[in-house]
Amino acid sequence: MSETRDRIGDTLLAVENVSLAFGGVRALSEVSFEIREHEILAIIGPNGAGKSSMLNVINGFYHPQDGAITYKGNKRKQMRPHHAAATGIARTFQNIALFKGMSTLDNIMTGRLLKMHRNFLWQALYWGPALREEMEHREAAERIIDFLEIQSIRKTPVGRLPYGLQKRVELGRALAAEPDLLLLDEPMAGMNVEEKEDMCRFILDVSDEFGTTIALIEHDMGVVMDISDRVIVLDYGRKIADGTPDEVRGNPAVIDAYLGVSH
């Protein structure tokens, strides 16, 4: 699969020497890596290695004590999550973070909020330009619903959906923003084989059809080897490997980390 991706471009995001600590816990220590345009990058590592923290730093959820992040050529130390959203970073969470009381459709529509510009007076009228805008985005949301094959649960409050479908809706909400960089925190955790296959297919399709750059965290090595162009490995907050799936698989440090050899 990987060899078809000759369209991988320049660096979209560069992480330089990022360190993050919570009190005495060092979640990340001087981590540096790059994410290139259009690639699928997998971040792997044992539990507590700092993978989720890394995504949280990228989308402005955590603020690192040290280091810098260069995104689309702009260097920054920190930003707010809504600012990250405004610059084209969307994500999903390890523990699903959907709006439980809202329908699938409304959840996906919230992904498009930043693209809606009519002021509240127009919204109060729900007419003319406001209605046109609403319909335009409804169509975009419906395309995502078709793409993810979730037509039948369009109007269902997501709190009532099974876990696997919720993960799918959360991906839909992230896609609705038409992001340049999509961060997925364990998109396949807790899924059965069939659901995992569907999810893999969606991720690959997103990459192929929209050219979205994707960074994902995943524990299932089979999946990682199958879909990613490049893999970075974190262990105790440090990056211990970075390369193609094959390179990483053969890396002794990685094997040690996974077999739990003492440090």
């Binding site: 809504h82 809202m102 909020l113 509240f120 919204q123 109060a124 729900y126």
Partner: protein
């Protein structure tokens, strides 16, 4: 005619997003409005209009206002009475300072002023949540009522105990405030005014603004990652909620009671409106109406039945029993059906749609 959507194919998304996508619903609503607008004024007596329908409409508006903030945006507020007082006193100052200003404009401007106050008291919501926020809004409640009691400027230094709302016409010849106003004109005006405002509220909640409120309510951190600013979302909810509540307060003073007094907007008023949205349904415009109807009608109903059972029963006992029944109902709704009467109504409709087949 059966209640079905079969055969009604939606040709575009606009039709699908309509408030009442099913034809039968639209016919029902049309008939209902016709009944309310034509039959009720012709048939209802003064007692029904003045003690049931008029307060029901005013309360519905206040309940819609609180529901926007608490039901849709998840910000618990006990300041409803205080914000209603703002609306009432702002309207009084405006109406007396600018006697030529049309009364509907006075009401709307009183709402705008209250929205400003709402924003001010909404600022703590950026830091605190839930119970603590409720306590902060409680402080707003007491502070606002105190301000209106304390400074005679609010009632133009009038020395009389009762400050009457000035008489105003909605169209020449038809007074809606003051002693000349007939209950029928008041009712018709309120019905139209509240219906329009309810439509505005519905439009807001089904669009961008409503979605950002609900996102904040359901999970504020996730709301932030889709690009919603908590500051904007929460303060806009406070503003728009207060706008509706302020207008409700102005209508209360000018049309329902005819007198402007802070006493009418004490903390028990805040609780009353909160109970309406809990019983009617949090996060539902229809529920705001159902809850208001329920809480306006229940005491009357209980009163009448208890008097029928035992004509010698004292009013104190009646009101105590009322409290107990209210309390029990609220606990029941919170536990059994947190989405209130509106949800029960929806379930009934879903059943009806499938009737007579159980599945």
């Amino acid at each position: 005619m059966l209640y079905r959507e079969a055969g009604q194919f939606k040709t575009d998304y606009a039709a699908d997003q309509a408030i009442f996508p099913i034809l039968q619903d639209r016919i029902f609503l049309g008939l209902f409005l016709l009944l309310a607008l034509v039959a009720v004024p012709l048939l209802a007596n003064e007692y029904w209009l003045s003690t049931i329908l008029i307060p029901f409409l005013v309360f519905s508006l206040a309940a819609i206002g609180l529901n926007l903030l608490t039901g849709y945006c998840g910000q618990l507020s006990l300041g409803t009475g205080g914000f209603m007082a703002c609306g009432a006193f702002f309207a009084f100052k405006l109406a007396t300072a600018f006697p030529d200003l049309h009364i509907a404009v006075v009401f709307l401007l009183a709402g705008v002023g209250t929205a400003g106050v709402g924003i001010l008291f909404g600022i703590p919501s950026l830091r605190i949540k839930g119970f603590y926020l409720a306590v902060a809004t409680l402080a707003a409640q007491f502070f606002l009522v105190w301000v209106f009691n304390k400074f005679p400027w609010w009632v133009n230094y009038s020395s009389s105990g009762v400050i009457s709302a000035p008489a105003r016409e909605i169209v020449p010849g038809f007074f809606i405030t003051g002693t000349q106003a007939s209950p029928v004109t008041k009712y018709v005006f309120l019905l139209v005014f509240v219906a329009i405002l309810a439509l505005v509220a519905k439009n807001l909640v089904r669009g961008k603004m409503g979605r950002s409120w609900m996102a904040i309510r359901d999970m504020d951190i996730a709301a932030e990652i889709v690009g919603i600013r908590p500051l904007h979302a929460k303060l806009s909810a406070f503003a728009i909620s207060s706008f509706f509540i302020g207008i409700a307060g102005a209508l209360w003073a000018f049309i329902y009671t005819g007198s402007v007094e802070a006493l009418a907007f004490q903390i028990d008023r805040s609780f009353q409106v909160l109970f309406m949205i809990i019983i009617g349904g949090l996060g539902s415009i229809l529920g705001s109406f159902l809850g208001a109807a329920f809480i306006v009608l229940l005491p009357i109903f209980l009163n009448n039945t208890m008097l029928a059972v035992d004509p010698s029963i004292s009013t104190a006992i009646v009101s105590h029993i009322e409290f107990m029944i209210f309390g029990a109902l609220i606990i029941l709704f919170l536990i059994v059906e947190p989405h209130g009467l509106a949800r029960l109504w929806q379930i009934t409709k879903e059943k009806l749609r499938l009737w007579p087949f159980p599945y």
